[in-house]
């Protein structure tokens, strides 16, 4: 491992350690804010593995949140275990497995499509799956499903889910960072830049996209399971939500699509802005999100991090030639 990689791992571990410690001192309200941030950051990172690395924008990624949530709820209703470890492992495991299977089934037909066609196809997949969750009585999507209370009695639920989702985000970031450094990551970057040229250099483009999609869907499904366990009760409408798909994209755009920090920063900023500062105007959430997207597109096309980088270069006196990534 290079010195730089070692340094990143050390810094990351310190950050996670610090956040975990914060979990012991924060008030229940702040724990819930933290939990919201982690869940939305985890989903954004999941989305980013395909959407950011390869610029294959999925408009229907909520399908993995939904499938993960339903898989967790249905398995935990069928098999009742004692002890939070077994319960969480079962719910999360079922969610990841179901998301991976769904991703595998739709990957080949859908990833042969390029760019915009993929985007629209994912929107359609999400709508179809949401319909199915409501229409087929086995899924009970329209009546709703109750999930068991998995938090152990000795720990406040807010605190428990704060830690759980922190762990999940850490896993998501670690997987994404490993992919970015691996051969697969370079293949995805090449696809993002010029898919035909990539293929002529020997990049098996379909295989790269399928692998990224599997990782992306599985991680988003994991976040879906935690989302559902925290809610305690889900319906089709609460987990197959276009707004969730939108948030994943917006968080990445707001933070910046230049690196993995983008979706993280975006999730922090957007959660604080829409859920905390404007928490009394939740019914305007979509309108506010829309305004922010417009502002970002016009004022900071490379996201907040792109803006910060430009400002930093200007301060240092170098010429701000825009980001390294004009897309």
């Amino acid at each position: 491992m290079s010195a730089r990689a070692l340094m990143s791992v050390a810094l990351g571990a310190a950050a996670v350690g610090g956040l975990a410690w914060l979990g012991t001192v924060l008030s229940p309200f702040h724990l819930r804010v933290g939990l919201s941030i982690f869940l939305s950051a985890g989903m954004a990172i999941g989305w980013y593995i395909l959407g950011g690395f390869a610029r294959y924008y999925s408009f229907g990624h909520t399908v993995f949140v939904g499938v993960g949530a339903f898989a967790a709820a249905l398995t935990l209703q069928t098999w009742r275990f004692d002890g939070w470890v077994l319960q969480v492992a079962t719910g999360v495991g079922a969610a990841m497995a179901a998301s991976a299977v769904l991703a595998a089934v739709i990957a080949l037909p859908i990833l042969r499509l390029r760019g915009h066609y993929f985007t629209i196809a994912m929107l359609a997949v999400a709508l179809v799956c949401a319909e199915a969750a409501s229409a087929f009585p086995v899924f009970r999507g329209s009546i709703g499903l109750t999930l068991p209370d998995v938090a152990p009695p000795s720990v406040r639920p807010e605190r428990f889910f704060y830690w759980m989702s922190l762990g999940a985000v850490t896993l998501a970031v670690a997987v994404a960072a490993l992919i970015a450094r691996a051969r697969l990551g370079y293949g995805l970057f090449a696809i993002r830049e010029d898919e035909d040229a990539a293929q002529m250099l020997g990049v098996p483009t379909t295989r790269c996209k399928v692998l990224a999609f599997l990782a992306s869907g599985t991680i988003t499904g994991l976040m879906g399971a935690l989302y559902a366990l925290n809610l305690g009760y889900i319906t089709t409408d609460s987990v197959f939500r276009g707004a969730l798909s939108l948030d994943m994209i917006v968080n990445s755009l707001v933070g910046g699509m230049g690196s993995l920090f983008g979706p993280l920063v975006g999730a922090v900023v957007m959660t604080l802005l829409t859920k905390v500062m404007l928490g009394d105007f939740l019914e305007y959430h979509l309108a506010i999100t829309g305004l922010i997207v417009v502002a970002i597109v016009f004022l900071a096309p490379d996201g907040l991090l792109g803006l910060a980088e430009k400002a930093w270069r200007r301060v240092r006196g170098g010429n701000a030639g825009g980001g390294a990534d004009p897309r």
């Binding site: 090449a190 040229a197 990539a198 990049v203 390294a324």
Partner: protein, 241 residues
């Protein structure tokens, strides 16, 4: 001469009414530099598109090391050991020069083995070490051309298809790239070169193929080809107003 590494038999490509490549047959001997020349629009780049599988054949067959490759996906052909440097550079703009070259090394014939060494070698042979950290979007046209060559070399191909690698280079740079190519042939690589710079072609080639309006009109040693009346006519004809 050694066995041919590449054999094209009657390859044809039509675009509507136009036969961009018409019934062309040739063989490329291993460890040689073979040049493919011809006036603008003769079909040279189209032949590269056919050899790499980017554009499907409308007729004929292509064999690489005795195996049919026409009909294979482009990335499979690349993995067999055929690399291409594009005439119009196709850089991965958002990536650094080094990462561009690294993609070539990671997915080339030898796959993920010795990637760092192959990357550095590609950069060095193309004279790009000084700009390795820069985003490809910032390179000059000449540097982009060299990056095309570096990316292809890093793939450690058995057969390199170089489409006008010298265009836009100054004479010193040209000589460096030619020397690099010659060196690689000395190490066992085979080069199929498309080039408009005739003195360079005459100097570097073991064999020259001449294409005109999609047809192969000459095939032989450089000195013989330049004396061929049909070749002279094709070039003069193309240059007359």
């Amino acid at each position: 001469m050694s066995a041919p590494i590449l054999v094209a038999e009657g390859i044809t490509r039509r675009f509507g009414q136009l036969a961009a490549v018409a019934d062309v047959s040739f063989a490329v001997a291993e460890r040689t530099v073979t040049s493919l020349i011809g006036p603008n629009g003769a079909g040279k780049s189209t032949i590269f598109n056919l050899l790499t599988g980017y554009v499907p054949l409308t007729g004929g067959r292509i064999a690489f090391r005795g195996t049919r490759i026409d009909g294979l996906a482009t990335h499979r052909i690349a993995r067999l050991g055929v690399a291409r440097a594009f005439q119009i550079a196709r850089p991965f703009r958002g990536l650094s020069v080094r990462d561009n070259v690294k993609v070539g090394a990671l997915y080339g014939r030898d796959g993920p083995r010795d990637v760092a060494a192959a990357t550095e070698r590609g950069l060095r042979l193309a004279g790009l070490e000084a700009v390795a950290e820069r985003p490809a979007a910032e390179l000059t046209i000449g540097q982009l051309r060299r990056m095309e060559v570096a990316r292809a070399i890093a793939a450690r191909p058995d057969l390199l298809l170089a489409d006008e690698p010298l265009a836009g280079l100054n004479p010193t740079e040209s000589d460096e790239v030619l020397a690099s190519l010659r060196g690689l042939v000395g190490e066992g690589m085979t080069v199929l070169l498309v080039e408009h710079d005739m003195p360079a072609v005459m100097k570097v080639s073991d064999r020259v193929l001449v294409l005109d309006a999609g047809r192969l009109i000459a095939d032989g040693r450089p000195e013989d080809v330049t004396r061929d009346p049909r070749v002279i006519e094709a070039y003069l004809g193309a240059e007359a107003p």
